[in-house]
């Protein structure tokens, strides 16, 4: 497997979409190619950062305004 093919397979690997042969070939390539290993690691890290639950918290004021707006508009309709 060359670098171009390896890059093409990285996200399939992360999704568990690769068959066993392709998976093994990619793993062999990553072991001996530092650049592709970095692309692999940092692609995984990219996803991890966006999923970090500590980031982008809902500010208390925004939450308060949301619930006030919902209560004002919806509660009378549900009664």
């Amino acid at each position: 497997m060359n670098c171009k093919d390896a890059i093409q397979q990285i996200t399939g690997y992360l999704d568990g979409d690769l068959d066993d042969d392709l998976k093994r070939m990619l793993e062999v390539h990553l072991k001996c190619c530092h650049h592709c290993q970095i692309v692999f690691d940092t692609t995984g890290k990219t996803i991890e950062l966006y999923c970090d639950g500590k980031l982008f918290p809902l500010p208390g004021k925004v939450r308060e305004r949301l619930h006030n707006a919902l209560r004002a508009k919806l509660k009378p309709r549900s009664e």
């Binding site: 650049h35 692309v39 940092t42 990219t46 925004v62 949301l66 707006a69």
Partner: protein, 200 residues
């Protein structure tokens, strides 16, 4: 004696949906409590603006309540409100920018090879090294650099955890197109983040 809600006794979602459909505001509010954080985060990453994200958050749940009787429960409640949120967010963006700009960007970036150019390793723990708000700005700017269709596919698949099938259905794309866009979105985001998060 004060009674605190017990996580172990949390109501099943389908029960809450049934009660909310029957008009219970309290049941609907419980559903809002469960998903408000995620919808707000989706709004921030989609629109890149706290004001738009807040509008999107409110409009999503108002629409959800209004259309709840039509929710057939053949998908998860969360998938259903994400669909509403995405529609609200895209409408907001189209109002802000010219729709022409959004469409042209999408079309012109659909094909073409993605060639990694950044091969430096990243600093080990950017989430610990950087201030939270600084990292959030970096992530939002990187997400905003993506064409809209790539951004929505990335957010739905990788951040919201929808399946390829659900994402394809929601965006009116084939599953193959979702996979191809996800591939390009991930690598482009990685390139953008690498420029900032690489070591020294």
């Amino acid at each position: 004696m004060v009674n605190f809600p017990d996580a172990g006794l949390a109501k099943d979602e389908s029960v809450l949906v049934t009660e909310a459909k029957a008009g219970s505001y309290e049941a609907f509010e419980e559903l809002v409590n469960r998903y408000e954080k995620k919808i707000y985060r989706l709004g921030l990453n989609l629109t890149g603006s706290p004001e738009d994200a807040e509008d999107m958050l409110q409009e999503t749940f108002l629409k959800a309540f209004e259309h709840l009787p039509a929710f057939r429960e053949d998908s998860r409640f969360y998938t259903w409100i994400v669909r509403i949120a995405i529609n609200q967010g895209l409408m907001k963006l189209r109002k802000r920018r010219s729709s022409k700009e959004v469409q042209m960007k999408d079309a012109s970036n659909d094909d073409g090879e993605v060639i990694p150019r950044e091969f430096a390793d990243w600093r080990p723990n950017p989430e610990q090294e950087l201030e939270r708000t600084e990292l959030e700005t970096i992530l939002q700017n990187a997400a905003r650099s993506l064409p809209m269709t790539f951004r929505t596919v990335f957010l739905l698949r990788d951040v919201e955890g929808l399946s390829t099938e659900e994402t394809a259905e929601m965006l009116g794309l084939s599953e193959g197109a979702v996979k191809a866009r996800l591939f390009r979105a991930r690598l482009r985001l990685r390139e953008e983040l690498s420029k900032i998060l690489k070591r020294g």
